[in-house]
């Protein structure tokens, strides 16, 4: 090997070589960008294998009911049907879940939400599979659903959705002891149930393997946590349950929980054929968890200069029928419930509860979103009560590097909030209204106004979000790199 002088080097200057474009800091092009824009990208819903069967899922129409019996006789007889499975056909563990294994693979003696899976069918055509589902007779004894999350949290007389009680997690935060002030503002806020609404439906293909295992091609957020939940249900060791990521059409938290993975694997192993499952859009709304709807009661106390003295909050997150990642969502709402502000006295109670409403779990923002709407609304109320503008009230209270959060944790990284607030206020204002194009006006092409009744408003918001996993979770990632000519 010859060592040579770099011909591009200046005399005496260190030799650095020419860097290639597309490194860290460059706007490197996505490898899948052109494919996606052209409609040529293979998403998990495009998976195909010759000889594959199609799976479909029978779901509960009731948010709460006992199951007295399931009769699959007529479904099995339908030509083209290869398998009809219920909880009795689950070879291993009958429950799965992220934080708690409380969710049945297929409903056993109860259903707890509208859309809960009760049976699955494999057939040679997706429509045949769906019709077979319609032929399955389930004898339900309908119950009154629990739908009031606050009652589930605070009323001991509220019926139990699960034997172990309705409170999934209650996380208090207590610091300081001064809970009176010259200026006090209270508010009760409500956040509706948002959906991740990813465009690519739940979908995947399970292929039975010669070693008795299964290869699953699926759109998901975490291959290994899927594998950890699937393997015990199938009664297989993890190395016989092999997952490959297929094209993912968005996630936003909705693919953190399992959807069709176990069902497809069960059907594939039973029929010894590849089985593909794709949810329709309506089914998708029942097929994944949603953002926790919340009720938040806040009380902020400040001195007459608008400096926060205390924050009290009761946050109730409706987790719906199963646990999912509700405990972690509660942890975020509690620990970040006062917002990115210096406040010495805090009393927060955050609850995540079971109800018979649709199950909720991870969605982008994960508990911090709900709290942010409440505490930012409160800061604006406080601003008004103190005669300050929305930027000034925030600048007076914003935390900075070295601040101590209500949990006692010190912010040991830059937190230039005052700078960020001032820069936001300094953006030039957009051109004022006075346009003739209805698309620029409220109501848009509905043509409901030509400017009459239109008033302009300006508002500000600031949020604090935790990055990475929290509360002692041993999180890690792995990478294998190979260099060769």
């Amino acid at each position: 090997m010859t060592k040579q002088r770099d011909p591009h080097a200046r005399e005496g200057a260190p030799v650095t070589g020419r860097s290639f474009a597309g490194g860290v800091g460059d706007s490197a092009a996505r490898p899948d960008g052109v494919l996606k824009v052209r409609g040529a990208f293979a998403y998990s819903s495009d998976l195909w294998m010759d000889g594959m069967l199609w799976g479909a899922t029978l779901r509960s129409p009731h948010p709460s009911a006992d199951i007295r019996g399931i009769d699959i006789t007529e479904a099995v007889k339908l030509p083209g049907v290869s398998a009809v499975l219920t909880h009795e056909d689950v070879p291993g563990a009958r429950h799965y879940g992220l934080d708690l294994k409380d969710q049945p693979v297929l409903a056993i003696d109860r259903v707890r939400y509208q859309g809960e899976p009760v049976a699955v069918v494999a057939a040679d055509h997706p429509e045949t599979a769906r019709r077979a589902c319609d032929l399955i007779k389930v004898d339900y004894a309908v119950r009154e659903p629990v739908t009031d999350a606050r009652a589930a949290a605070l009323d001991p007389a509220c019926p139990k959705v699960h034997e172990h009680g309705n409170i999934v997690r209650h996380q208090p935060v207590r610091t300081g002891d001064v809970f009176s002030a010259d200026v006090v503002v209270t508010g009760e806020y409500e956040v509706g149930m948002q959906d991740q609404a990813f465009l690519g439906p739940e979908s995947g293909l399970a292929v039975p393997a010669e070693d008795g295992g299964v290869d699953l091609f699926v759109a998901t957020q975490w291959l290994h946590v899927d594998q950890e939940q699937i393997a015990p249900v199938l009664g297989l060791p993890p190395d016989k349950v092999r997952l490959t990521l297929s094209g993912v059409g968005g996630a936003f938290g909705a693919r953190e929980d399992l959807s069709m993975q176990i069902h497809a694997c069960l059907l594939a192993l039973r029929t010894a054929r590849p089985v593909k499952i794709v949810y329709g859009r309506e089914e998708s709304f029942s097929g994944h968890v949603h953002r926790h709807p919340a009720t938040l009661r806040y009380e902020h106390g400040a001195d007459r200069d608008g400096r926060l003295v205390y924050v009290k909050a009761e946050i109730i997150l409706d987790g719906g029928a199963y646990c999912s990642s509700t405990p972690a969502v509660v942890g975020n709402a509690a620990s970040l419930g006062a917002g990115p502000y210096d406040v010495a006295n805090v009393a927060v109670d955050a609850y995540g509860v079971y109800t018979n409403n649709p199950p909720c779990g991870a969605m982008r923002g994960f508990g911090a979103v709900q709290a942010c709407f409440a505490y930012e609304s409160q800061m604006d109320r406080l601003a008004e009560a103190c005669g300050l503008d929305p930027i000034e009230i925030r600048v007076r209270n914003a935390l900075s590097e070295g601040s101590r959060l209500p949990t006692g944790q010190v912010v040991d990284m830059p937190a230039p909030l005052t700078d960020m607030l001032r820069r936001t206020a300094a953006f030039p204002m957009p051109r004022s209204a006075g346009t003739a194009d209805p698309r620029d006006l409220p109501g848009g092409v509905s043509n409901t106004t030509h400017g009459e009744g239109v008033v302009r408003g300006v508002g500000y918001g600031i949020g604090i979000k935790n990055i990475c996993f929290s509360e002692g979770f041993d999180d890690h990632s792995t990478a294998r790199v190979r260099l060769e000519v």
Binding site: M1, D6, V15, F20, G23, V24, G25, A28, A29, P31, D32, Q171, R174, T175, E190, V191, G192, M193, T220, L223, H224, T244, L245, A251, F252, E282, F285, A334, N356, V369, F373, D380, T407, M413, P414, L417, M420, R423, T424, D440, T448, T449, V454, V455, R456, G457, V458, Y460, G461, I467, C468, F469, G472, F473, S477, T478, A479, R480, V481, R482
Partner: protein, 276 residues
């Protein structure tokens, strides 16, 4: 480059190759399909993948680089532009490698965190904090309760910009989802039943709803994180919603304590507001 990390549209598949180019000084990087034959990459959530899988990729590349430099007999050198470089000396990487393959696998962890005390909620529970500020400008038809978001501006501190265009996409997208929660998106549940399970009635923002954005990105590095980066995907989802609702309050004076905001909330009990 082989990880189990889920590319969900955020651009992690692009970033993995960018890191390899920078750390190994190569041009062509192939990212293998993600599967379970390699160790866990953790979840594509919590805005953690650039930090965690980016950190794992960087650490594995560093291990590969160290072996290359030892092979070249240039332990203090760097890899750049397809060369091994040290002081005045520059050797083509292909020459150093010959027909060798150098492969390394590494796990990457962030610093440990603690649980929250069940009574006091005290604990160093979080790995990193990220912040975003939004300003919203809206036009409100106060007679009909309709809203047009005219402009959204945001300032976000990302520690280090890894891919400018991908970052902007994340901020635009998070802001759009925040707009959706402020104005349009709600699964309406009554007695446990979903009343609007379709995109006909569960409304997600389109290009007609989402206004142009002005962005200012700050780079104040987190000393504990790879490249000093701060996770970027979620913060814009938080501040956009209250900024929009605050702007509507500014226009119409209604208290607006519930999101998504509906026309009847803007109009108030009298059914009609008179513009100021």
């Amino acid at each position: 480059m082989h990880t189990a990390a889920a590319e969900v549209g955020q651009g992690l598949v692009t970033l993995q190759a960018q890191i390899a180019r920078t750390e190994l000084g190569v041009e062509r990087v192939t990212v293998a399909p993600a599967d379970t034959t390699v160790g866990s990459a953790g979840s594509s959530s919590a805005s953690r993948q650039s930090y965690m899988t980016g950190g794992a990729v960087r650490t594995a590349c560093e291990a590969v680089r160290e072996r290359v430099l030892r092979l070249a007999g240039l332990p203090g050198g760097t890899l750049s532009g397809g060369h091994v470089v040290s002081g005045e000396v520059s050797v083509p990487l292909a020459e150093v490698l010959g027909d060798r393959t150098i492969e390394e696998t590494r796990e990457f962890r962030h610093r440990p965190t603690s649980p929250l005390d069940p009574v006091t909620g005290q604990g160093d529970s979080h790995t990193q904090f990220a912040f975003c500020v939004h300003r919203a400008v809206v036009d409100v038809d106060v007679e009909l309760g309709l809203v047009k978001v005219v402009e959204l501006a945001a300032v976000q501190d990302v520690g280090k910009i890894l891919n400018p265009i991908a970052l902007e996409g994340q901020i635009h997208g998070g802001t759009a989802q925040g707009l959706g929660l402020a104005l349009m998106e709600e699964i309406q549940v009554r007695d446990g039943l979903i009343r609007n399970p379709s995109f006909t009635d569960y409304l997600i923002p389109t290009i007609l709803d989402m206004p142009p954005m002005s962005l200012e990105i700050l780079e104040n590095p987190d000393p504990h994180a790879p490249y000093g980066l701060r996770g970027a995907g979620e913060p814009p989802t938080l501040s956009s919603t209250p900024a929009i609702v605050a702007a509507i309050r500014d226009a119409c004076g209604a208290p607006l304590t519930r999101i998504p905001v509906r026309p009847e909330h803007i109009l108030g009990p009298a059914g009609r507001r008179v513009p100021a």
